[in-house]
């Protein structure tokens, strides 16, 4: 009995051990698997967390790099001349910003010339210091704040016609750009809003034209144009002052007044190869600085699907009684008014603009009526068809009508 009892216990123990060992082994194995999966999961979470943090770095870094700009291509049909496809302009704008303190802005302008070469220009390059909520110091080469067209409307994806109004291009009545310091910003004015820009700059240089009297052989001079395109040095040491104030009595209306004053000197003479070897760049000996004054006014009114805008600019250069190119005073005046209407619930837009440009030279004076039809593929990509009815001196380029097709893309 005792033997059998011991024997039974021994068998029971052996049986129990033989049952428990596999279970324990299985449990240890399952725990190890779970631990392994947990570790793998932990690693994945850690990696994911790292990726999220890296993504957040891209979202809100202290330094931001950004590129915007615009480009246009098209086709020009000119009365009595060959039609041409044109590459237009590629104008990238680079922004390099540090927090809300400073931003470097630069716009390059690439154009394909008639000879197939590429022309590059620095349209503007400024360091913008955001000093307070109401003041930004814009230093460097900047677009002229006189009026609205040059500083805000000239990019092809913004301009509702395929060409600039006469007098608002290079050597026109409106200054293009300048180089110096500018303070600008906006502020509330009771229930209205206002914006301002004041600047000091190197100012423009003046082009003169030499003409020889066929009868007497005497060479005379007259002012040819004002080159207001942001010169990198002030060759005559005379600074120019200017600015613009804009008032918005209601959100859909802005009225602006502009002013610039200073002195400018003839640095370039064209038209007499014997005397000046066709073209001289730089200060001419003994030239007198002349008074230089610009006044301008502009408005915009948005009502429903219609936008109305207009702008007037007058540039005056005083006389000089001494110096090689001594000549009388001269003035350049241009104004335009433009209406654009977007057909309701469509992507079609009609545009009508009238411009009157007067200069000291009858050959470039021009009255232009421009009619445009635009198709807005998207809000920043439009196809523009513009027809210019130009009225100028008979036989001059200013009298030739043109039709322009343009694809303009702002990015």
């Amino acid at each position: 009995m005792n033997y059998s009892c011991h024997s039974f216990r021994r068998k029971l123990l052996v049986t129990a051990v033989s049952l428990v060992i596999p279970v324990t082994v299985n449990a240890e194995s399952s725990n190890a698997d779970l631990q392994q999966q947990l570790d793998a999961l932990q690693n994945q979470v850690t990696a994911l967390n790292s990726e999220v943090q890296q993504a957040a770095e891209w979202k809100n870094p202290n330094t931001l790099v950004h590129m915007a700009g615009y480009a246009d291509v098209g086709f020009i049909s000119t009365e009595n001349a060959n039609d041409s496809f044109v590459a237009g302009t590629f104008a990238p704008i680079l922004h390099y910003q540090y927090r809300d303190a400073v931003m470097m802005e630069a716009e390059l302008e690439f154009e394909v010339g008639e000879d197939g070469g590429t022309e590059v220009a620095l349209e503007y390059m400024t360091i913008d210091w955001f000093m307070s909520d109401y003041a930004v110091l814009v230093a460097g080469k900047f677009l002229s704040p006189v009026g609205q067209f040059r500083q805000n409307l000239h990019p092809s994806w913004i301009n509702k016609l395929a060409s600039a109004p006469p007098g608002f291009g290079h050597d026109g009545a409106a200054p293009v750009s300048d180089l110096g310091f500018q303070l600008r910003g906006g502020f509330p004015l009771g229930n209205m809003r206002a914006n301002y820009a004041v600047y000091a700059s190197n100012g423009p240089e003046i082009n003169s034209e030499a003409e020889s009297d066929d009868a007497t052989g005497v060479v005379g001079y007259e002012l040819d144009g004002v080159a207001a395109e942001g010169f990198g040095a002030d060759v005559d040491g005379e600074k120019t002052w200017g600015g613009r104030i804009g008032i918005l009595p209601i959100a859909s209306v802005e009225i602006g007044l502009s002013l610039a004053t200073g002195m400018a000197t003839v640095t370039n003479v064209e038209g007499n190869e014997q005397l000046f070897n066709d073209k001289i760049v730089g200060p001419l000996s003994g030239e007198t600085a002349r008074d230089y004054d610009v006044i301008g006014a502009d408005f915009v009114w948005l009502t429903g699907n219609m936008s109305l805008r207009g702008e007037y600019v007058k540039t005056e250069v005083g006389e000089a009684t001494t110096g090689v190119t001594a000549s009388e005073a001269a003035e350049w005046t241009t104004w335009y008014t433009q209406a654009a209407y977007r057909l309701p619930n469509t992507k079609w837009e009609g545009v009508l603009r009238y411009t009157d440009y007067d200069s000291p030279h009858a050959s470039v004076d021009q009255k232009q009526t421009a009619i445009g039809v635009n198709y807005l593929v998207s809000n920043n990509f439009m196809v523009k068809l513009t027809h210019e009815l130009n009225d100028g001196l008979d036989g001059a380029n200013s009298d030739i009508d043109r039709t322009l097709l343009q694809l303009a893309y702002g990015f």
Binding site: L64, H66, R184, P188, A200, W241, S252, P344, N379
Partner: protein, 201 residues
Amino acid sequence: MKYLNNAICKSALFTVFILFSSGLLITAQAADFPQAGNFSKGSKVWADNCNRCHNMRGPKELRDDQWISTAFHMRVRAGLTGQETRDLISFLQASNTKSVASGSAQITAVLSKGVTAKETYDKTCIACHGGDGKGAFPGTPDFTSSDGALSKSDSVLIDHITNGFQSEGSPMAMPPKGGNPNLSAADISAVLKYIRETFEK
């Protein structure tokens, strides 16, 4: 004249230097960047200013960081104040993402509690649709037109408001919930009812 001109120039530069030095022109930089702005005011800044020069650019066209540089660029161009710029960035950054079903219906309900339909319209919708319902800029649907947007059924319009919608001829799409993620389903139904009662002919 030359002496006078240069004397004015130097005097002005000296004056500006004094202003800088005294801190009258310069404000200390904020610790947070970008500083939070006001969504509703930002939508108004966007609607009031952008199409004065160019066609409206929709919030979805750019990422959050791209909107920051773009807004600062436009601050210089359009003469915006610093506060208007912050408000504008807040609006654009909140409006360029798809509506996210975050399971935060309860939070949304709390955030939007007590806001009337008119207040919702004035804060979220008015920037684009205007105070008169005719649209604040070209291409926006005219609520007062008998065959316009309000001729559609409530279920269609609620879907458009909730998920965003691009109207034909509009320069940009309406962002989901008008760009205001705090709107609840009840808010959307209420504001649609308000729009119908106020503008529908």
